[in-house]
């Protein structure tokens, strides 16, 4: 498998604090890679750097060999690296379907003036988006809530909607920010299956930041562990489980958190 995304000596400082310090790793085409670490380790900062919501202090991120750090978020999204957020980050006063349709914006070909006058291209776009939204709704089994306002949806559905929004952009890499936070065991397992099917059936490379260790161990092909802004380990779930540095980093919090 070839590397689709290369994180190369990435560094970000906030004043005197080094939130991300010289981190390098590769993401391989079609894998699920999790980034874990204790609170404040710099996971979210890392995600923001990759999606260009933050600018780097040093180092760079390459997508298929091309530099993608320090651009605008929407430019990075257009290249195929799409970040989803925690559950509160959806368009709350739109229905599920409207959320998914609007998220197709990346694929639109018509111009702004084209939308205004209702050009042939704009109408073609809308028809394509509506059809694709229906497919996504079907794929994620959301038919029952398709016309429900997002603000009325329960947590589990919101999380699925977040992923639906991500899928609508037709990404090559999907960055999931804590997709299992606040879920019970059953919901988590459903979500794990969902993310797995996104990867297998749609060929999307998935990168996720997560606290829920059992879920991470179950879902990941590989794991990157960071602590105090530095990468301390990288490997398969089995390798991570037996890594001394990882155990040390998590020691004192909860030993069983990493499933030892």
């Amino acid at each position: 498998m070839t590397a689709i995304l290369e994180v190369d000596k990435l560094t970000r400082r906030f004043g005197g604090l080094v939130a991300v310090n010289n981190i390098s790793f590769d993401v391989k085409q079609g894998e699920i890679l999790s980034v874990i670490g204790p609170n404040g380790a710099g996971k979210s900062t890392l995600f923001k750097l990759i999606s260009s919501f933050l600018s780097t202090s040093a180092g760079e991120v390459r997508f298929k060999g091309e530099k993608v750090s320090d651009l605008s978020p929407h430019v990075v999204a257009r290249k195929g690296i799409v970040r989803t957020f925690q559950e509160t980050t959806i368009f709350r006063s739109m229905t599920t379907r409207e959320n998914i349709i609007i998220a197709h914006h990346l694929r639109s070909k018509a111009s702004m003036a084209g939308y205004f006058w209702g050009s042939a291209q704009a109408r073609r776009d809308e028809a394509t988006f509506a059809k694709s939204a229906d497919e996504i709704i079907q794929f994620l089994d959301m038919q029952g809530i398709a016309d429900e306002l997002a603000s009325n949806l329960p947590q589990g559905n919101l999380r699925a909607l977040g992923i639906a929004i991500g899928l609508a952009t037709d990404p090559e890499i999907l960055l999931l920010d804590e997709p299992f936070a606040g879920m019970n065991h059953d919901e988590t397992m459903q979500m794990v299956d969902l993310v797995r099917s996104v990867q297998r059936e749609r060929g999307v490379t998935v990168m996720l930041v997560e606290h829920d260790m059992p879920a991470v161990m179950k879902i990941s092909d590989r794991i990157v562990v960071i602590n105090f802004g530095e990468k301390i380990a990288e490997g398969t779930p089995a390798e991570i489980r037996s890594n001394d540095k990882v155990i040390e980093a998590y020691l004192g919090s909860e030993d069983d958190a990493i499933g030892i």
Binding site: H74, A110, F116
Partner: protein, 325 residues
């Protein structure tokens, strides 16, 4: 639904272009022409403010653009002798250009910070008009000629207002047609993908950016359309009153434009139009109360906002047929 929309526009046009002039003719209340012309123009400026609300920005600076538009038209007409009908779109474009320059930095601000900066804009525009030689300071620009004839290849499209028997009626018709055009454009924006993108901005800018929306561009686009509307409204006002002063549009006007949107309803395209009509006439009708006018007027506004936070158009009365927008 497809038959209803054009029908609605036709009914609206019939009411404002036939019924209202007929009523005025019968009742002999010629002063209503001026009042209704004002309402039409103010509602154009308010429509602009409404559009900035639609991208999630509280705009209390529309007065600046109405003033700039007014001066732009007045200067072009008096100094360069241009035809008013040509200066009208030019005034709008000048405002749009200025708003792009101003909007690029300030549209990064959100919430109350953006609101405060726009509030200051109106005052800055007034002080600039006082200071610049071309705007003639506090004396303003007076004796601006009436709109002259507009013709293409010898065919008169708009007659010379100065020679008309009833220029008030002419101004009324011109303003109302402009209002209908602006609201049609606004309706089209809101109900196309553009509007959906604006709503996505209003609800969550970060998510909007991550699904590939160029948020900075869209914000500036919406703001410049908004300012364009402010500019043409201002230019028309100046042409009617045939004069413009630094105090022609003040902070109070900016606040009123915003209130019109609130009162009519931020979720409805026709909200600012209704809001302007109600606020303008409400103020006039309370005139008989003398010194209590402002007290009662503002108390009623507060009550209305508490009772109907989503505006007058959220009343059941208006919503029966139109549940899905």
């Amino acid at each position: 639904m497809n038959i209803k929309k054009p029908l609605l526009v036709i009914v609206l046009l019939l009411v404002v272009l036939v019924l209202v002039p007929w009523l005025i003719h019968v009742s002999g209340r010629w002063d209503f022409y001026y009042t209704l012309t004002s309402v039409a123009l103010l509602s154009i400026a308010s429509a602009g403010v409404w559009l900035t609300f639609y991208i999630g920005r509280i705009n209390i600076g529309q007065g600046a653009y109405t003033l700039i538009g007014g001066y732009a038209s007045a200067i072009l007409v008096t100094k360069l002798g241009m035809n008013f009908w040509l200066t009208l779109p030019l005034a709008g474009l000048i405002c749009a250009l200025i708003s792009i320059v101003i909007g690029l930095p300030i549209l990064r601000l959100r919430g109350v910070y953006f609101a405060m900066v726009t509030l200051v804009l109106t005052e800055v525009a007034r002080l600039t008009a006082l200071a610049l030689p071309i705007t003639n300071g506090a004396k303003g620009i007076v004796n601006i000629p009436m709109p002259t004839e507009l013709s293409f290849f010898g065919i008169t499209i708009i007659p010379d207002f100065g020679t008309l028997e009833n220029p008030k009626l002419a101004f009324y018709i011109a303003s109302v047609i402009m209002m209908v055009l602006c609201y049609a454009a606004l309706y089209r924006i809101v109900n196309s993908r553009l509007g959906h993108l604006c709503r996505s901005l209003q609800q969550n800018e970060e998510l909007s950016a991550s699904i590939g929306v160029n948020t900075a561009y869209l914000r500036v686009l919406a703001y410049s359309i908004s300012s364009f509307m402010g500019g043409i409204a201002g230019a028309s006002f100046v042409s009617i009153s045939q004069s413009v002063y630094p105090s022609s549009f003040q902070v109070v006007d900016s606040v009123n434009f915003m209130l019109n949107c609130f009162l009519g309803g931020l979720g409805f395209v026709l909200g600012p139009m209704l809001g302007t009509l109600v606020l303008y006439f409400g103020w006039d009708l309370l005139f008989t109360l003398g010194k209590y006018q402002l007290l009662i007027y503002s108390s009623m506004l507060i009550l209305l906002m508490v009772w109907l936070p989503n505006g007058l158009l959220s009343l059941k009365l208006f919503n029966r047929g139109a549940k899905k927008k």
